[in-house]
Symmetry: C2
Subunit: 305 residues, 2 copies
């Protein structure tokens, strides 16, 4: 797919694209984080503050759309969508902690450790991880599918992916490898792309897709994750705090590795378009049914939502 093609179609807005899935997802997320016996009221409140904060819900929407693309039902895929969002939400809460990125604001609201306290923010994350696996293990049918979801999410959220990427990202400015662009891509493949890839893949898994389709979905998600990160870096580089809602030009201030810093803004933009084309090409063998996923990807690239 060429750049011209990528930009040719008049894209529906994010709101239009997700209108079927979003209300169902929000209701499922609300139910999953309902107060439960044994959970102190304040912790419960902090969990809901973290999870029910307004957000695009990119990961669950990708998951539900992938399930639809593969002929599955939204309802059957909802628990998996909730699980990936809970892992995403925990990672934001812990990343914002003073010992990590030390952010006071996220999307214009005080972060969890600011709104509550640091111990509560740590415990919110610690509670969300097992909750994600509890939901997969109790709500996904059949058992083989539930177990495959647990395996995939555990790997994506683990030391070799999400957590390892965050560790290297924190150390970013001090421990560079021989090729800084490769090092940066490796961080984002783990920190961002792994969770997007597993989201798309779980959609295929709950819809019963075969191994080749799952591979294509995963590669699509991984590329989309890189596109997401490059555009994130570009937004930050251009210093658009309204779009970012966090950090401002903090990455530059901290001397963090970013694509624009390493490649320049224009080359970063071209790289994003190139990876986006590769992502879309992964889905071509799936035929026109895969169009909704490509539309979501285009929105990530253009950030019009």
């Amino acid at each position: 797919m060429s750049n011209a093609e990528l930009n040719a179609a008049p894209d529906p807005s994010w709101t239009e694209l997700v209108s079927a899935e979003l209300p169902l997802f929000e209701a499922a997320l609300d139910e999953a984080t309902a107060p439960r016996p044994g959970c102190p009221a304040r912790l419960s409140e902090a969990i809901r503050y973290a999870v029910l904060a307004p957000g695009k819900r990119l990961r669950p929407i990708l998951l539900l759309t992938a399930a639809r693309v593969c002929g599955g039902s939204i309802e059957a895929a909802l628990p998996a969508a909730v699980a990936v969002e809970l892992i995403h939400a925990y990672s934001l809460v812990h990343d914002d902690l003073p010992a990590m990125d030390d952010d006071d604001l996220r999307r214009g609201r005080p972060t969890v450790h600011v709104q509550f306290d640091e111990a509560t923010a740590i415990l919110v994350g610690d509670a969300l991880i097992p909750l994600a696996f509890e939901i997969l293990a109790t709500r996904i049918q059949p058992e083989t599918t539930a177990l495959a979801c647990c395996r995939e999410l555990a790997t994506a959220a683990g030391a070799g992916r999400l957590v390892g990427g965050q560790a290297d990202d924190l150390a970013g400015s001090v421990s560079c490898e021989a090729d800084p662009v490769e090092h940066l891509e490796s961080i984002h493949l783990r920190k961002t792309a792994a969770m997007l890839a597993v989201s798309v893949k779980l959609g295929g898994i709950v819809a019963g897709a075969g191994p080749e389709t799952l591979d294509r979905l995963e590669r699509f998600g991984r590329d989309l994750g890189l596109v997401f990160q490059i555009t994130d870096d570009l937004l930050d580089f251009r210093g658009d705090p309204a779009k970012m809602g966090k950090r401002g030009a903090k990455d530059q201030r901290l001397g963090k590795l970013t694509y624009p810093a390493l490649l320049g803004a224009d080359a970063s933009q071209r790289l994003a378009v190139e990876i986006m084309a590769r992502a879309a090409s992964q889905l071509e063998p799936l035929g026109p049914a895969s169009e909704p996923l490509v539309q979501l990807a285009r929105l990530v690239l253009s950030r019009v939502h």
Copy 2:
């Protein structure tokens, strides 16, 4: 079982009791935490520092012993034993953080945030939780059993149990309910007893035990957890730092709720013996085969190990 009976038999030592299981378990734990692609060397080192620290391995030993009592094999139960120890290890690392209990030493060694740094300690915990579920989901057979293990461990490690108990424990001295003894028991049922109960229960699950046996194992584990906590409080109250290897009389200094502070040392001791008798009675219908579990429980009560 009377107090006299509880104290009658010449008990084997901890080392004798666990001689069959411990080397197999340590090897499995070492393998489970081997460096993996994508995990930075320093994070990997910190994970192993936290997990492979010398310890009694009470939870996995209970699990493996329960599996044996129920006629299962040690080998088949090992992944579940590793999983409960990983959750236990993460909870210690996070509990020790400055924002939580702020402990510099654990069993005479610097805690993870002291030996490495705070961000690494947070990430170690964040990596250990999904690793526990990855191991259950990939290593336990058959699938129904693996999924049951995921469900049980996720609940025990979640907001309603382990994490909720820790939240209330942190708030302990300031937010008492009407009956402080009930409040204290509720904290320990969640913070300590839930993980001991799930350990014993998972042993039964991997061995294919029926629902009534699983119930008895779980109740036994829960009572044992209370006994464990009361004796822990008593050791701390008597200020035996050699036995404790941490905290000294810190609980008293912080005005934390403890059994000796609420009931006095003698009444706490009597309560522990009483709950121990109730725990042992849970296992009577299982016959003499359950004796190894009762022996482990006696050692917890006497703390001769």
